[in-house]
Symmetry: C2
Subunit: 355 residues, 2 copies
């Protein structure tokens, strides 16, 4: 950890109204215009209005950070968002979640069959977008390497989703498997976003390695923080039902930590909360009380903080500049769930060496 | 239509034991080895033992037909099969079909959540495989063009699946929308297989155009024939429940044709068969009787035959050789559902000009 705080302003070109963020939104609007029916309507409903655009932003900032032109990588940023949203659509079917980004989940509004196929369409659209980088001047060889990186990440993502269901089904209360699952389910796409951005921008192997390390830690910090939200924030503040994890019996990090430290009676109470299907809200309230009393929430925040710090440390190997600064700012974003400037931080943000 | 019959022997290197078919099977076995658990087991269960391998064979024969080396395109052939099987897994969830290729459908055996994610994994694996053609000496530029072609086909496939559900839901009895749906749902992947094979093999624009025309007609002939099976063959002969289309209310071509020609009373009977949910087997028996009496089955076979003939005609523009002969043989396969040598043909096979 080094000694200058990250910027507390929104990361310029990625803030609402910023050049690159607007570029991603414009490309999404062009690909999925309003007024179409059928599957196009389902995709548009799921993609727009946009969410935080974290993955596209990571991709473009990585291109910048290695000295590449982010405008040439814009279709790849759209691809990263398409892949992410496709996986959310399928995730919501599997988890039985009916709300996403504050609006009805795709399967809840359009039916499960349409939602399965809409997710598939977004996956194919991901790769179609990626090939368009060639039309904008990126060498074909880099595009093929990027396709390979993002398809491997997609496979990891699927394995992570499957593992998540398995950990819940078998009630596995262990830190190791939880972190392995998070690396697959969340960090893989973060890694791919940074990797693809750097590949398209012509980054060196050393720059790629730094960005992959950064993204891996960022992904873990982000998911741990995200998994804490149901137990730390107001109901449904994340644009989805806060009872989802409890209803699906998910042993997320604070639950694992509390279970590990608990006596037999409390362990039983935790397990009961995760198998309660009739009254998920009561189960959430009960589990929250157990977690808060156990210190597991602070312990989880500390772990997320350590990964956030390691993410920022990994950036030290990159050349100073807007790209690197933006990546550092996104660490703050990952730990708050909102752009850095718009909300009080729940914890001390990590720091980057001054330029 | 020209005057020499296609070969009635199995198409050499693509027959069981043939060099290219064995190459595809070996690559699938290496990618999805026995003994793994979790999602890998679900994918292996769905991929192996293999089906007819029609799409991979079309791809490799197209590479041959334009003078390319099919061994370099082998990963792309695996990709075509991965994409096809991924879509079957999702299709079976949507249709509620419990049997596929004579074994339990993935969702029936492993649960819907695992099956959704296994299909996704196969889609990502498709693109990962495709990039491996570069490692076997295919220029990166061709690989990017192939990625673009197959992702567009995947998007068409999704739109076709969605349209199929819509036609069933709204009971649309029209030939035009049925054929449009078939072109999207089935012919798109046939087209992409031939297109990708030709692109990777370095085919000329004229060769690509011929192959796309061939594949488009072949896809329609194949799907029309496939849709006829429940009404013409023994129960469940295709390795899946013959009641699926009736249970899902699908107005396939013979149903559309019979409906169009029927009086009001018979129309009502057809519609009743397609909305019967409790007794799909009785509905199938009743609908089969109506279709057989109407002449719609012969009319559908004739339409499939015309498309088969047009497919063979499109091959005339290619150079004579093993690749072109194989493609002609696959027209026969499409119209019988089994390799050309192993079953009596239900109709006169199309012919190709002698070399």
């Amino acid at each position: 950890m080094t000694d200058i705080e990250t910027s507390r302003t929104a990361p310029g070109v990625f803030a609402p109204g910023g050049r690159l963020r607007d570029g991603v939104v414009r490309e999404l609007e062009e690909r999925w215009p309003a007024g179409r029916t059928g599957l196009d309507e389902v995709c548009r409903h799921s993609l727009l209005p946009v969410g935080k655009l974290l993955r596209p932003s990571l991709l473009l900032a990585s291109t910048q950070a290695v000295g590449g032109d982010p405008l040439r990588a814009l279709p790849a940023a759209v691809a990263a968002e398409s892949g992410h949203v496709g996986s959310l659509i399928h995730d919501d079917i599997i988890d039985g979640d009916t709300v996403r980004r504050g609006r009805p989940a795709a399967h809840h509004r359009y039916g499960t069959g349409e939602a399965i196929v809409a997710g598939d369409l977004l996956f194919f659209s991901l790769f179609e977008s990626l090939t368009q980088c060639r039309d904008r001047g990126v060498p074909a060889d880099r595009v093929v390497t990027a396709v390979a990186a993002i398809s491997r990440a997609g496979m990891d993502l699927c394995r992570g989703q499957s593992m998540e269901a398995r950990l819940a089904g078998r009630q596995v209360f262990e830190v190791g498997p939880y972190l392995e699952m998070v690396r697959l389910k969340t960090a893989a796409l973060f890694r791919a976003a940074c990797e693809v951005g750097a590949i398209l921008g012509g980054g060196s192997p050393a720059e790629l390695a730094s960005l992959v390390t950064y993204a891996d830690h960022l992904g873990v910090a982000f998911q741990v923080h995200d998994d804490l939200l149901p137990y730390t924030s107001d109901a449904d503040s994340a644009g989805k039902a806060s009872t989802s994890d409890v209803r699906n019996g998910r042993p997320v990090l604070p639950v694992v930590l509390a279970h590990r430290a608990a006596d037999a009676c409390t362990r039983r109470a935790i397990e009961d909360c995760l198998t309660e299907r009739e009254e998920p809200h009561s189960a959430l309230v009960a589990l929250t009380a157990i977690l808060r009393a156990s210190g597991a929430i602070e312990e989880s925040l500390a772990l997320a903080g350590r990964h956030a710090g390691a993410a920022v440390d990994a950036l030290e190997a990159l050349s100073p500049g807007e790209g690197r600064d933006t990546l550092a700012d996104f660490v703050t974003l990952a730990l708050t769930g909102t752009p850095p400037c718009s909300k009080a931080l729940p914890m001390k943000p990590p720091r980057l060496t001054p330029r």
